[in-house]
């Protein structure tokens, strides 16, 4: 966890609360979803939290039957996050891809406003083929928020070729009791079409939820795998 030096509430706690709210919405509980309902308006931490949550900040809008329309405050918060935390010229693949995920989610799930959304930044996929499976798995788990319908189709296609390796990463992560990594990988595996049945992905996701669900982001990944890909029940 990163250190938080200022303010009473650390960023990680704000993110955890927001993740809880997103997971609740994905389970169809807690009333109509609005970003403004889970993050405080005018809080300097809000755009940062949205940037870290990435596409997951808008995940409830990807559900087919959602309750209420998207409020205008949500659009403003996302624009704030995109403006404040763009990936720099030397940004990592994870930074680029998570940013891209938030942009893509805005395109896909938010109504086109008066202003156009920024174009998704270029993000490479060469590393998908060339990275050894343990490192690949760790990185892909950090991109768990992109495992949402309609997002990053090219990345999903590339990852399909590494399904077995990501499955090995899931085994490794559970064995290491790295529940967040396991949940993120399990969520991606839920999206990929050809996961080996012997992995036991459904019971694996349920197990990770039980073991690591105290971390709201773990719960969020498992709920997303259930909601959007029908795995982990």
């Amino acid at each position: 966890m990163a250190e938080q030096t200022q303010g009473a509430v650390p960023l990680s706690a704000v993110i955890a609360d927001a993740a809880t709210g997103v997971a609740l919405a994905l389970r169809g509980e807690g009333g109509p979803y609005a970003l403004s309902g889970i993050l405080r308006h005018n809080d300097a931490l809000t755009p940062a939290a949205v940037r870290v949550l990435g596409a997951d900040a808008l995940a409830p809008y990807a559900m087919e039957h959602r309750g209420a329309p998207v409020g205008p405050e949500d659009e403003a918060v996302v624009r704030q996050a995109l403006a404040a935390y763009p990936p720099g010229a030397d940004a990592s693949e994870v930074s680029r891809w998570t940013y891209r995920g938030l942009v893509e989610a805005s395109h896909a799930f938010l109504p086109a406003g008066a202003q156009p959304w920024p174009a998704p930044p270029e993000a490479a996929t060469g590393w998908v083929d060339s990275t050894p499976w343990p490192k690949l798995s760790h990185r892909v788990s950090q991109l768990a928020a992109l495992a949402l319908p309609k997002l990053a189709p090219g990345l999903a296609e590339q990852l399909t070729a590494r399904t077995d390796d990501l499955s090995r990463g899931f085994v490794r992560a559970v064995r290491r009791r790295d529940w967040l990594q396991a949940a993120g990988l399990g969520r991606w595996l839920a999206r990929l079409p050809d996961v080996a049945p012997t992995l036991g992905l459904d019971s694996g996701l349920a197990f990770v939820r039980q073991m690591g669900g105290a971390d709201p982001r773990v719960a969020l990944h498992v709920v997303a795998a259930q909601r959007f890909y029908g795995r982990g029940w």
Binding site: D164, F170, V171, R175, R176, A196, T198, G230
Partner: protein, 327 residues
Amino acid sequence: MTGGRGDPGLLDRMVRGSLGWLDEARGFFRLPPNVTTDADPNLTLKPLGELAELTQLIGVLHPRDEIRQAARGLFAFAWNETRDGELFAELIHGEPFATYPVELYGTFAQAGLRHADADALVQTTTRLRGWRVAREDHTRTLNVLNAERRLGLRQHADFASVLALTGLGRLPEPWTLDRKSVYGVTHDVFHLTDWGRNRQRLSPEFAGYLRLWLPSWLDTWLEEEMWDLVGELLAVTACLPAAPFDPVAWQRLATAQAADGSVPEIGAAPSSGDPAEAFLACYHSTLVTAFAATLARIACDEAEAGPVAGDPALVGGRTPCESENAP
């Protein structure tokens, strides 16, 4: 894990190093006078039994003659320690319902080494209904069944039925295996394949399962530096059709092997300077290293020679399996 032909030079150096250390350690394998009474079998018979089982295999299967000769020397030493099998007659006489004397004796019997009194005893004890009572550890039962086969006895249970109850037979979720259960899976493979002698007995389903999940098990136990388990997992890997060769794992194991050829059980070898302690900490992993490197060496030669003739289905990767997808 990559395919490829492996590194025969490295593998041979590792076997030579291991056998050299084991040869120097003969004194610690010697059985004490009280071996059939109150000595701890785990500190006396077990080391000698492992030495016999694995040097017998290396002495027959290793492609290099000088390595086979070294292994045969150790195997002959082990038989000599049993006083040409008289030990087994004494052990069975003392503990007629224990399986371990029969299992140990089977190791020598497969090489044609027999003792008439021991044979007469096992004929009687292994046909008892009491012998056929299920044992709590199915993996262990597989070893008993193999011993019966090696001794020419009727097997007391159906091998396939017992295998179906084991950690391999159940194809457990690969993320559920802990140390004990992964040891179980490796030994299920060793018993099923007779320590790699009959690798074709590994069904395509089991081979596909192992090929898929061995890399993740190797990774975590490499991280834990449990070298005997790393060696056993590498030995299982070498039992697969068109066996993959993991250069990183082999290099790590090679690095764990000390200059004197010993391989510690876990982490680094004890540094107390007590040779007896060093023996107990290293003999098992050192034997396993020689065994694994021998199987991997054989796999190298097969890769060199091209695909093995036989059922192409054996070379397959992932195998179809009932989907667990919820409808």
